[in-house]
């Protein structure tokens, strides 16, 4: 077996260490990306984030809930091409229900305590990406898909 770290370990470390992801949405085929703060649930099956109700990404997600998220640990140097890892999550975004809000806040605000007032604002909506597959990239081009059963 390879002595390299497993892709699951790489994924968990990325999701735990990084504060922001690039969220990919679209509207009528117009692609759109935005940077959002996020947190992963313990089982890594959901990625939580929050946004203003009036934002373009929110409008896009209302029109089509399919979305992707890119998380990576690059440091903007030459070594990134081989040493940085990245993961793309693909899935469907849904609004967090009233009953699940306290669990969302527990996980999300533990990572981003400074966003408490933002999350609690009436103009903010709590969302979660239900991940169907992660594509984990190491060594620049080594790609393993981790499908969630």
């Amino acid at each position: 077996m390879s002595k390299d770290r497993s892709h699951m370990e790489v994924l968990r470390e990325l999701l735990e260490s990084q504060m922001l992801v690039v969220l990919g949405t679209h509207h009528d085929g117009e692609p759109y990306t935005s940077l959002v703060g996020f947190a992963a649930t313990e089982d890594l099956k959901h990625l939580l984030f929050a946004t203003g109700k009036a934002t373009r990404k929110r409008a896009n997600l209302v029109a089509d809930a399919r979305a992707s998220m890119l998380v990576d640990n690059r440091t903007n140097c030459a070594a990134d091409f081989t040493e940085a890892s990245a993961a793309t999550a693909v899935g469907v975004v849904e609004e967090v229900s009233e009953a699940e809000r306290s669990e969302f806040d527990r996980i999300f605000l533990a990572k981003h305590p400074h966003l408490e007032s933002f999350v609690h604002s009436p103009s903010c909506v709590r969302l979660r990406l239900g991940v169907s597959v992660y594509m984990v990239v190491t060594h620049f081009q080594h790609v393993i898909e981790l499908h969630i059963d």
Partner: protein, 722 residues
């Protein structure tokens, strides 16, 4: 930025910019020891070179293709080769060229020079790694010095240095290399003196050769060796070499020659010379505050110190095979002798032994005798496996030696271009494939024979005779401890599969090869063409033997398996079915003791699977080992039976291609394997058939399944699962 400094400008604290070797030489000169005229190209020059050539990003890319811990020594060779090629193709900044030319013009313009590595940290106490980086001797003229400097810089990333990367603290962003350029002293006698024996503090050691000591340092020339009492210098022992030879400079080339007969019977040092050398190492030890290992030479009776560094004790750890890997790097002279030995003595001896064993009739043996025979055959096989590692594997370095020579002359964009001059050698595996192809071709053209064979008929007398001739000429092949053709039906099945597949041809042609050879020779300076031809010849012999030796060895292994199979049959006849799963030792015991119950060894549990997640490969990165692209279903080879399921057009995916299983390669559209490197069999055979090939893909046989449709990119070393 100071590119060049003289020894008189170097202080004890300058190791970071001039390296340990230059600091030591400067200290020796300051304290009145004779050293060659020298100057130092600082690490600023290396930094400028890699910065202007964007080489750090390249090195990162090469070192980061996969986890270093997953790389085999062959892959580390490749990484070093690719980095070296980039260094060779990157222009040296004009300010460095001008500074070197100007300094040479002062007093070293028409002098033969030595260009030596001086890596910061390399020779610090406790971390002395002699010979990991390169030195060049007999260099003459500005252009040649610049090329030698390039070679020294590249050797910061040599395979040898990369093996010791942790101990050397190699870091792409911070490691650097200084270079010492010094007058080559054409000494009559040279050597190394150790102020203290690396493993016995009571002794000092002097090694000495006639001529230059580069031959002693790289192991080409065996020295006279003395041990001395460390306190008094009294001679304790003297061990002469088997033969006294010497390395000398002739027409700017170093060459090994016999020592003239009038001196060949005398050791290079007399008692007075030994005392002088011993005194020098004592003085160096006092100067640096630790026992030293000093390289020296004597010219016109005058002792000159070439370099000094701390003696380090051997730190070999059990299981650390790096010293063996280092021993694989051989000089041309060494390879010349090794080739002679392998071709003329070892391979014929191995074949003779296999032929003798094959004559023994197993059916005439009782159970006890069969147990003896199994052990005898296994011992013979094991003995040849040891010889394989000791003599055959190091010979493969001839391929790399030629590659290095070719790349230095041609500076090709593709660092593996030199392989085009090695292909189309008459390898046994290719000859075996041709023989199979001829038989298959006849079957293809004879529908009646083809239908009969498919229906399980034995075929015509002529067909049977051809199969027998094939078996006789090539013997059985063994893969994954199993015989391939032990069962005639399998061979017939393979012939039918080959007959059903479109006829394929070897891509490598002798005429292309000769055209490339002529082009290469034309690029070599006239006075080095004989050398170029010889290096190429050694490269071709290494290339062929690299593949053939496995087939020779498999003949012996097949004979072990024959006897083992016979033993299993006998146990089966005794209805001791439980014994069928036991290993060789258990089988021997069961044959010797009919009532003994031997427990089969437990199977290893498969690795655990992540709960809730299903891993699926999408794109796997390896190393490009054969140019081209192909998209086709995969055939993963786990054991011999998989080979006989192979369908024309599939991609051969396996842990490690072995010349014994390459009979399916003519049917394959591409080759992918876990084991990495350009010298491995998969890469060699893929080049013969012009197939895309990717090697060094970690866990590939676990990640890809038979039937998966995959795209193989042999240019970039990528396998994509579609």
């Amino acid at each position: 930025m100071q590119l060049i400094v003289g020894l008189d400008q170097i202080g004890d604290d300058d190791g970071g910019r001039v390296g340990g070797k230059a600091v030591a030489l400067a200290a020796l000169q300051r304290t009145g020891h004779p050293v060659p005229r020298s100057f130092c190209l600082t690490t600023d020059a290396y930094d400028l070179f890699v910065e202007k050539g964007s080489l750090r990003a390249i090195i990162h890319q090469e070192l980061g293709r996969k986890s270093f811990d997953d790389m085999r020594w062959e892959e580390i060779w490749d990484v070093a080769l690719r980095i070296r090629n980039r260094f060779l193709r990157t222009p040296v900044p004009v300010e460095i060229v001008e500074a070197v030319e100007a300094r040479l013009g002062q007093d070293l313009r028409d002098t033969a020079l030595a260009v030596r590595s001086s890596a910061p940290g390399e020779d610090s106490a406790g971390a002395s790694f002699a010979g990991l980086h390169e030195s060049f001797v007999g260099v003459r003229g500005g252009a040649a010095v610049i090329e030698a400097i390039r070679g020294v810089w590249a050797s910061l990333w040599s395979d040898r240095a990369l093996l010791y990367r942790r101990e050397l603290g190699i870091d792409v962003d911070t490691s650097s290399m200084a270079v010492v350029i010094q007058e080559l002293i054409d000494g009559e006698v040279s050597g190394i003196v150790f102020g203290v024996h690396p493993t016995d503090p009571e002794l000092a050691v002097v090694e000495s050769v006639y001529g230059l000591n580069q031959g002693l340092v790289d192991g080409t020339i065996e020295p006279d060796r003395w041990t001395l009492d460390v306190a008094t210098g009294r001679i304790i022992s003297h061990t002469p070499p088997g033969e006294r030879r010497r390395l000398v400079v002739r027409d700017s080339q170093t060459t090994v020659e016999d020592v003239p007969p009038d001196t060949a019977n005398s050791p290079p040092l007399d008692a007075e010379g030994l005392a002088e050398v011993f005194e020098a190492v004592r003085a160096a030890g006092a100067l640096f505050g630790a026992p030293q290992d000093v390289e020296w030479t004597m010219a016109d009776g005058r002792l000159v110190l070439l370099q000094s560094r701390p003696v380090t004790t051997s730190t070999a750890v059990e299981g650390d095979k790096r010293a063996w890997y280092l021993s694989l790097t051989r000089s041309l002279d060494n390879l010349r002798g090794l080739r002679e030995r392998v071709e003329r003595e070892l391979l014929p001896a191995m074949d003779r032994e296999a032929a003798e064993i094959a004559l023994r009739d197993l059916t005439a043996l009782d159970a006890e005798q069969l147990a003896d025979e199994i052990e005898h055959r296994r011992a013979a096989h094991d003995r040849w496996v040891d010889i394989y590692w000791r003599d055959f594997i190091p010979l493969a370095h001839g391929i790399r030696l030629f590659g290095q020579f070719y790349n230095e002359v041609m500076r090709p964009e593709d660092p593996y271009e030199f392989m085009e001059l090695l292909v189309a050698t008459p390898m046994l595996s290719v000859r075996r494939n041709r023989a199979l192809s001829r038989i298959a071709s006849k079957v293809r053209g004879d529908s009646e024979l083809c239908a009969g064979l498919a229906a399980g008929e034995p075929g015509s007398a002529e067909f049977k005779r051809e199969l027998e001739e094939f078996e006789h000429e090539f013997g059985d092949a063994v893969y994954a401890d199993q015989q391939c053709f032990g069962d005639r039906a399998r061979l017939v099945r393979l012939v039918l599969a080959l007959a059903a597949a479109p006829e394929t041809a070897e891509a490598a042609s002798a005429s292309d090869r000769e055209q490339r050879t002529a082009d290469f020779i034309e690029h070599v300076e006239e006075d080095r063409r004989d050398l170029a031809r010889e290096v190429l010849d050694i490269g071709r012999a290494s290339y062929q033997i690299r593949d053939d030796d496995n087939i020779h060895l498999a003949r012996l292994e097949a004979l072990v398996l024959d006897a083992v199979e016979d033993g299993r049959h006998r146990l089966r006849d005794r209805h001791e079915d439980d014994h069928l799963e036991i290993d060789l030792e258990g089988l021997v015991q069961a044959l010797r003791h009919p009532n003994l119950v031997v427990e089969p060894k437990p199977a290893q549990a498969p690795p655990a699977v992540e709960e809730g997640f299903r891993a699926k490969p999408r794109q796997l990165i390896g190393q490009p080992a054969g140019p081209g692209v192909a998209t086709a279903p995969a055939r993963v080879i786990d054991d011999v039976a998989d080979l006989f399921e192979f369908q024309a057009g599939e991609v051969l995916v396996c842990d490690a291609v072995d010349p014994n299983m390459t009979f399916v390669v003519p049917m394959a559209s591409a080759v992918v394997e876990r084991r990495g490197g350009m010298l491995i069999h998969g890469a060699i055979i893929a080049r013969e058939y012009g197939l895309p090939c990717v090697t060094g893909v970690p866990d590939v046989t676990a990640l890809i399944a038979t039937g998966d449709r995959i795209a193989v990119d042999g240019y970039l070393g990528i396998v994509t699962v579609l």
